[in-house]
Amino acid sequence: MGPQEHRHDGGHDHDHDHAEIGQAGRPGYYEIMETAIRELLVEKRLIGPDEIRRQIEVLDSRTPALGAKVVARAWVDPEFRRRLLADGRAACEELGISFYDDTRLIVLENTDKVHNLIVCTLCSCYPRPVLGLPPDWYKLKPYRARAVSEPRAVLAEFGTIIPDDVEVRVSDPTAMVRYLVLPKRPEGTENYSEEQLAALVTRDTMIGVVPVTVELRRAAR
């Protein structure tokens, strides 16, 4: 069943109406270029449709849950933490997280003295093998321009206030290296299991825009 034939009268529960999911209007310049190049590559037998689909499956299999597992392990296992900070990629590979490209991984540890933040000013470099696809805001120009020039203002908009005696350290990947923030383990989690710890670690904490917290931070009243 194609998208044009999608029906709302049975099969699955929807308690709302929504616009039909489909292609509206003509494809844009870059969409046409992408399709043309993809078709050419397939036609010339440089890659096949299966290889493209497979790579999409590779990317879809990567989610922030993998990064959370790495962080939780580093919190409970000091030897693993040491290896992770020495060679991020090798330590992730130990946990069965493969790197399907030639990138290296540097893991940046947040401490009482340093708060790390990641931004790719050129485009969208991101630790995809361990976090999956980046959020849209990470790829848009306001974040890319501001995180590198006024990181404290950007962090404040995420509700993260960094004291003046703590260094804000921004890492901007440009080529072969990707970065992952190792956030601070929150207080009050001494009795948490590794799985419980991993459940606290969200995507944004590993980009460095927010700390890991046990409870949702609420606006002061």
Binding site: T121, L122, D165, V168, M176, V177
Partner: protein, 115 residues
Amino acid sequence: MPKNSGRFGASAAGIVRALGEEPIFRPGDRVRVATRSPVGHYRVPLYLRGKTGLVERVIEPPGIDNEEEAYGRNAGAKRHYYRVAFPMRQIWPNYRGSAKDGLRIEIFETWLERI
């Protein structure tokens, strides 16, 4: 150049290493980012060209020149990327934030000058 360096530790007596095998810069070296402005998409961001920083780490292993490769040209022998540290206030004269705040970025050898 010191013999005890890089991924390999000390060289055995009489061993000569290939060009690019040994990093040219060491952690602690002061470097300036070149101010070249080639046409096209280059990986050293404009906001850093001409700025001075401190080499913090040599990225291993060495890699080919991504910029040349991207344009379909011979990317040459492998060379190193360096993780270089810059104080925010040096990059942005009107930076609002702690004097401790800094930036880290990886830069290919051909863009760095020793100072």
